[in-house]
């Protein structure tokens, strides 16, 4: 039967359904485009007023109407990258355990539990961070780190300052907990894509579990693993509520990991309600939103590209 005869038999219902489905697909793209455009247009007055210096200027002063994105961009990147430094080894351990070491009956419940972690609303992480983690940080972790590392040359400065409990390090910790499920789940899934015959051959020639991991699984899945990490990075960049609670909310460049800072998403959430329509401040916030959108878009696009490379 030729395709022509199939298409001839298409009922009006099919055509309408196809058009509706097509419309839904286009709608998402239009929506995405509209959001980018409206953020850009909204932020244009600030971008043209401050010029490219908006990107690295570190003053955020509503009184003098001087706004720069330097501090929130710095805070966003530092907390997200620090979160990855903490989260990636842990997520790797989880995925390694679940795919290679754990007995069969453990894999499913533990795997589900990790996926459930991803479903916890961020406000819960924020409150948990503020009421549980922050006091622990200010009473135990920060003073101890200052004692141990505060006098070490070069890095000592990173571990000094008053132990408020909030700050970049705490924000990164909370973010790490939040992105672990994403990275671990992706790593587990890509580790499972390694053809069993490769692993069996390696075990056959006498490799240990770690050697199989290092020499077979990781090289085979390297690109996808990086894709999964980028996925976690994308989530960390845009996280708002949990970070707002614990980062200390100061628009100054932090010189210590204990110093308070700010992220783009957090600053926008905090300042939005008190920004009059048409003001330079509102425009600056929209410009910040645009910058965050572009950063997240790039990170997620790279992650999609890397995750797709293997399966294609």
């Amino acid at each position: 039967m030729s395709t022509a005869s199939i298409s001839r038999r298409r009922s009006p219902g099919d055509v309408i359904f196809a058009a509706a489905a097509y419309g839904c697909g286009v709608f998402v793209l239009v929506l995405l485009g509209a959001i980018i455009v409206s953020l850009f247009v909204g932020g244009l007055p600030a971008l043209s007023h401050f010029g490219p210096a908006f990107l690295w200027h570190t003053t955020w002063n509503p009184v003098t109407q001087t706004f720069g994105a330097g501090v929130p961009i710095f805070g966003t990147l530092v907390t997200s990258l620090l979160a990855l430094v903490i989260a990636v080894p842990l997520a790797f351990g989880i995925a390694f355990y679940l795919t290679e070491i754990a007995p069969e009956w453990v894999r499913r419940p533990v795997g589900t539990a990790i996926e459930l972690l991803a479903a916890i609303p961020s406000i819960i992480y924020g409150m948990w961070g503020f009421f549980v983690i922050v006091p622990i940080m200010s009473q135990y972790v920060m003073p101890t780190l200052t004692d141990w590392l505060g006098d070490v040359p070069l890095i000592g400065g990173l571990f000094s300052g008053p132990p408020f409990g909030t700050g970049l390090l705490t924000a990164a910790l909370i973010l790490a907990v939040m992105v672990i499920p994403f990275i671990a789940a992706t790593m587990r899934d890509v580790f499972l894509t390694v053809p069993p015959v490769y692993k069996e051959s390696a075990y056959g020639v006498g490799c240990t579990t770690w050697e199989v991991m290092r020499s077979i699984v990781i090289p085979y899945t390297r690109v996808s693993v990086v894709g999964g990490i980028m996925l976690g990075l994308g989530r960390a960049l845009g996280e708002t509520m949990a970070v707002t609670f614990v980062i200390g909310n100061a628009n100054r460049i932090a010189t210590s990991l204990f110093d308070p800072g700010n992220t783009i998403a957090s600053l926008v959430a905090l300042e939005f309600p008190e920004s009059p329509a048409g003001s330079l401040k509102l425009s600056s916030l929209l410009a910040l939103g645009f910058i965050l959108f572009v950063i997240s878009f790039i990170v997620l696009a790279v992650s999609r590209f890397l995750l797709r490379a293997r399966s294609a």
Partner: protein
Amino acid sequence: MRLLMSALAASLVGAVAMAQAPATQAQEITGAGSSFAAPIYGKWAEASQATTGIKLNYQPIGSGGGINQINNRTVDFGASDMPVAADKLAQNHLLQFPTVIGGVVLAINVPGVETNKLKLDGELLADIYLGKITKWNDKRIAEMNNGLKLPNLAIAPVYRADGSGTTFVFTDYLSLVNADWKAKVGSSTSVNWPLGTGAKGSDGVAATVKRVPGGIGYVESAYAIQNHLTTTQLRNKAGSFVVPSMESFAAAAASADWSKVQNFAIDLNDQPGAKSWPIESATFVLLPTDPKDPAQNGKVMNFFDWGFSHGNDIATNLLYVPLPESVHNAIRAEWKAKAPGAPK
């Protein structure tokens, strides 16, 4: 992404609100803005509904949002903790009047210092937030507090991280009493704090101060009293030290000269009077002078008229300070003069 979601949600809500506006029940009034004033407006609405038949739909979205919404006329009235400038009022055809007063007090966490024992003044406070005074046993604090045992502990200033009318009142006070503060930082709903850490909302500030030894932060008086925070005395303009209380807040409101200001845009900070609490502010309502529907405008005024006549006890119970009676009458006169639909 979250931002986008909330922006989308906000625009959806806006669209829905606009679509619904013509269909709203004849007796419902809508307002948006100050979250500081939300509890009292809610209680007034609850108590007055039986007599006035007016139902209030109030959204505490923040003063800035309230001003935006009334400028766009998506609500019947806007509410702001910060008086709006006269030219902006004229430009957007708005009338402004205060409703209740609230104080701002200092919460501290200094081991060994009980509530309302520590004495401070605006000058010291500004220097603490500027980083010029960094220890609780600083000579200048010790001189003011003869006999009080102060620890050798770093001062950890805490401020509101979210844009807030409370921050405006506090920074406005510091600007009034400390020239250096005015030059370096200034006053606004959010400012460029030279040091310290931010926390979200009064509850966030209070929790941070409670947790960090040496902490100091500013919170709304109602919140401080309800939660039994450790507060301080302050020296007022007359030079006497006062304890934060309903009496001292009312004293400042009473000693203010309301007749000299336009649009009731009075600054209640640093008022004269031996018993006056130095940091406080009124919260304001913005009403159109060119309403699409004067009857709707009238209902808003009926509602606040009820609040002024019958709502003082409710306000006091919620730890707001009612306006002096003379101001209530001045507001009623202003309504008759400027707002279409004013109650007879």
